[in-house]
């Protein structure tokens, strides 16, 4: 472990990678750190933090990939993290020793804005001119020596996809860590300097010492700075002081709200004068010609629909073989292990029905997550995702979301878990939270078996295939129809969002790198397994215990005796006949379920569901389905003594449901599954939060209280929907 080099003796040097969004930062990060990167969260917030080990000629450094941003003006959490990290305000993360500022060589002045702001934080810097090849193709001549001289820091031309660039960048980092150079910040006019002093003087004790001038400028210049949230400074007095300081800027003849960009750009224009020269006219951008087709007023939407169809279909069916393989693997493992533990039935059930089942239950989502993130990475890296948001924005803006919500919501139709993970592409935290809250309402593929079973058993035989498919469509549409008005309500009363701006740069189209896409898939897969896995596993064990215990052996004896009495056979005769033996086994399972804590809970809770027309059996099915809604099929199978191996196409289960009657109460003898009850069950499953994996991922992405809220509102909504269905259905006769 001991290394004698100077760099690794102390803690490794911290190097931060910053730049505007979509300019190839992450590509370079992946190229520089390779497999030595890890993803986590910044303490206390859900912004993901990417850190990698950067090997240097002498020792190593830690490279932090910060979220892409245009300026230090922070309106969102993502942007605030950049200011916080660069000013050393994140607990446990020292102020970086070096900032690598990546700028787009085809737009030097606009990209230097961020660099010039960071210069005020007094951190050594390197400037990378990325897309150097494209700049040359466009006929731009950039005088690097002159720029380096004017900026006072190393300027490295670079192509983020090329290995040679990586070597040049590593050398520059190594050199600059040894002999640090800082970018000269702008000379503010006196009015701004004075305003900064005024504001500092007004600050409460403790606050003023902790802030640099650069951070004070954020409070002074930004319309609503997210920086204010971290200060221990009362809102009202802060606003009054900021207002006072802004008047000082105004008295110097500047509009305080426009002063920073105007002065910075004036400064940058002088700084870069005669650095960039263009040989000839700007050639036609090929992105524009692609856009003419892809975002065309007429067929733009048709192309978008076609692309989404392919994505959706791939997530839905493409993951199928892998999911089957996982199911098969799970089944074989269970079949292999079960006999070994047959001497201890409780352990057997724990391992086979809970542990393996539980691991399988969340691993089965992994293929869909990987397929979806393959497409998300592909759409983002090519530049199409921004266009999709542009096309879809109008549909979502009325309820307070923006176009970025479309892809996560659509993918939630396959499965809400990858859908919720995909909300990370939404920058605005409140729009993201709102999307997370409604994503589980989209009818995911796990609901399909319930629809298929009930429609096949009750709707199709009576009303024909047309009404059946219409019902299936209505069930898929219901979630979305409920979700958008709900978001409107959430935004108005709960999240209290102001209308969110939607200013989005359309990045240039470009060919994505396979390594970047593979990284995105890997990251999402690992995070899902690591974080959601544990919660799902725990929930599965709890439900198993509720279904298994108390498991008194008296149940088995009583059931066997009843069975013998009804069949009029001896125990030996039954055991000799395979069918009879199986029937006895199923009757025992069914009796155990009825006597289990879950069975008793079902009977206790049933009155709540009575107004939806559910009997205790349906109630147990509903309760047992909370960890994973698809469990309803096998639970109903156990309840109706068919064994757990039934599926939605199983005729015996359909017949059992059709034949089910009330055993007690005023309806004794009448059929349980009437059309209003059936519709009620389907609506319940369409709206209810019955997925441990989804709740685990909401907890991870938005926090425990939002996971609880999501569970509560969806379950209440589902109950209400089922009751309305049953009551209105009965009224209509």
């Amino acid at each position: 472990m001991a290394d004698s080099t100077a760099l690794s003796k102390d803690s490794p040097a911290q190097v931060a990678l910053v730049g505007n969004p979509n300019i190839g930062k992450t590509t370079l990060f992946n190229l520089l750190t390779g497999l030595r990167q890890r993803v986590g969260n910044y303490p206390g917030v859900t912004v993901s933090k990417k850190v990698g080990v950067l090997p240097l000629p002498k020792g190593t450094a830690e490279l932090i990939d910060l979220p892409g941003t245009y300026s230090l003006a922070a309106t969102s959490l993502d942007e605030r993290i950049v200011v916080d990290v660069l000013s050393g305000q994140v607990p446990g993360l020292p102020k970086p020793n070096l900032v690598v500022c990546m700028i787009d060589a085809t737009n030097v002045v606009r990209n230097l804005f961020l660099a010039s702001q960071i210069a005020e934080l007094e951190i050594p810097m390197i400037v990378l001119l990325n897309q150097w090849d494209l700049a040359q193709k466009q006929g731009l001549q950039i005088d690097i020596d002159l720029l380096e001289q004017r900026l006072g820091v190393p300027v490295i031309p670079c192509v983020a996809t090329k290995k040679a660039s990586a070597t040049a960048v590593v050398d520059a980092i190594d050199n600059t860590l040894v002999s640090p150079k800082q970018l000269k910040p702008i000379d503010w006019p006196e009015a701004v300097t004075e305003a900064t002093c005024t504001l500092r003087a007004d600050m409460p004790e403790g606050v003023s010492e902790s802030l640099s001038d650069a951070e004070i400028h954020r409070l002074l210049f930004d319309a609503n700075s997210a920086l204010a949230e971290r200060l221990d400074w009362d809102d009202d007095t802060r606003r009054a002081s900021v207002k006072k300081a802004r008047r000082v800027v105004q008295s110097g003849g500047f509009n305080p709200m426009a002063a920073e960009p105007l002065l910075q750009y004036e400064h940058l224009n002088t700084l870069t004068e005669s650095v960039v020269n263009r040989a000839g006219e700007l050639p036609k951008q090929h992105s524009e010609s692609i856009d003419r087709l892809l975002v065309h007023r007429g067929w733009g939407l048709a192309i978008f629909a076609a692309i989404m169809y392919v994505v959706f279909l791939s997530v839905y069916t493409g993951a199928g073989p892998m999911m089957d393989l996982i199911e098969w693997g799970k089944g074989s493992l269970q079949d292999w292990i079960a006999p070994m533990l047959s001497s201890t039935p409780m352990l057997q059930s724990l391992v086979v029905d809970a542990a393996i089942e539980g691991v399988g239950a969340f691993l089965v989502f992994l293929p869909q997550i990987l397929v979806l993130f393959f497409f998300i990475a592909l759409l983002e890296d090519t530049g199409y995702m921004a266009r999709a948001a542009f096309l879809m924005d109008k549909m979502f803006s009325w309820c307070g979301l923006n176009g970025r919500s479309f892809v996560p919501l659509l993918s939630s139709y396959a499965c809400a878990v990858p859908g919720i993970m995909a909300t990370r592409t939404i920058e605005d935290p409140k729009a993201r939270l709102a999307t997370i809250l409604i994503a589980p309402l989209m009818s995911c593929s796990a609901r399909l078996p319930v629809y298929v079973l009930l429609i096949g058993a009750f709707i199709e035989p009576e009303h024909g295939p047309f009404v059946a498919s219409l019902t299936l469509f209505a069930m898929h549409f219901l979630g979305l129809a409920v979700a958008l008005p709900l978001v409107w309500l959430f935004n108005k009363f709960l999240l209290k969002t102001r209308p969110q701006p939607f200013v989005l740069e359309m990045p240039r189209y470009h060919v994505p790198k396979f390594a970047d896409i593979a990284w995105r898939m890997w990251e999402s897969g690992v995070e899902f397994v690591k974080r959601a896995g544990t919660v799902i596993f725990a929930i599965t064990i709890i439900i198993w215990a509720l279904l298994y215990f108390p498991h008194s052996s008296a149940v088995e004896e009583v059931t066997t005796q009843q069975f013998i009495a009804v069949q009029g056979l001896t125990l030996e005769q039954i055991q000799a006949d395979e069918d009879q033996a199986a029937a006895l086994g199923q009757a025992i399972d069914s009796a155990y379920l009825e006597q289990s804590w879950m069975g008793r809970m079902g009977r206790t809770v049933q009155p709540i569901f009575a107004s939806a027309g559910f009997d205790w059996r349906i109630t147990v099915g509903v309760l047992a389905s909370f960890p994973a809604r698809e469990v309803i099929i096998s639970t109903l199978g156990v309840i109706y003594s068919l064994g757990g191996e039934v599926d939605e196409e199983s005729h015996s289960l359909k017949d059992a449901l059709k034949g089910a009657t009330w055993h007690e109460g005023p309806l004794t003898g009448q059929a349980v599954f009437t059309i209003p009850v059936v519709m009620g069950i389907m609506v319940f499953f369409a709206l209810c939060s019955q997925c441990g994996a989804t709740l685990a991922i909401i907890k991870k992405e938005a926090g425990t209280s939002w996971a609880v809220f999501s569970f509560a509102y969806m379950t209440a909504l589902a109950w209400l929907g089922a009751v309305l269905c049953f009551q209105i259905g009965n009224l209509l006769g």
Partner: protein, 94 residues
């Protein structure tokens, strides 16, 4: 003598039109120069940071199929924004 005031009136009405012109009302394909911002709120500041400052020439490229948002181009950057946001950007002829 009568032609001069008439001419002036025309200029005035043209000026009036230009004063009313915003990025939202700019016809597709047309270019103009940014004159000022109405509010200088966070969205306006974001646009200025991206380089859409007074004096910069901006061209409206397209409108989304559903009528909103719009896409504009300045300094070789293509940016999408909503009409309500574009309303705040006042223009003068290029």
């Amino acid at each position: 003598m009568r032609e001069v005031p008439l001419h002036l009136n025309e200029t005035e009405s043209q000026l009036q039109n230009l004063m009313d012109a915003t990025l939202s009302t700019l016809p597709i394909g047309q270019a103009a120069r940014v004159k000022a911002y109405d509010q200088c709120n966070a969205t306006d500041q974001r646009l200025m940071v991206m380089g859409l400052i007074p004096g910069v020439e901006v061209r409206k490229i397209r409108v989304a199929p559903l009528g909103d948002p719009i896409a504009v181009e300045f300094d070789g950057r293509c940016v999408s924004l909503r009409r309500t946001e574009a309303n705040s950007v006042r223009l003068e002829s290029a």
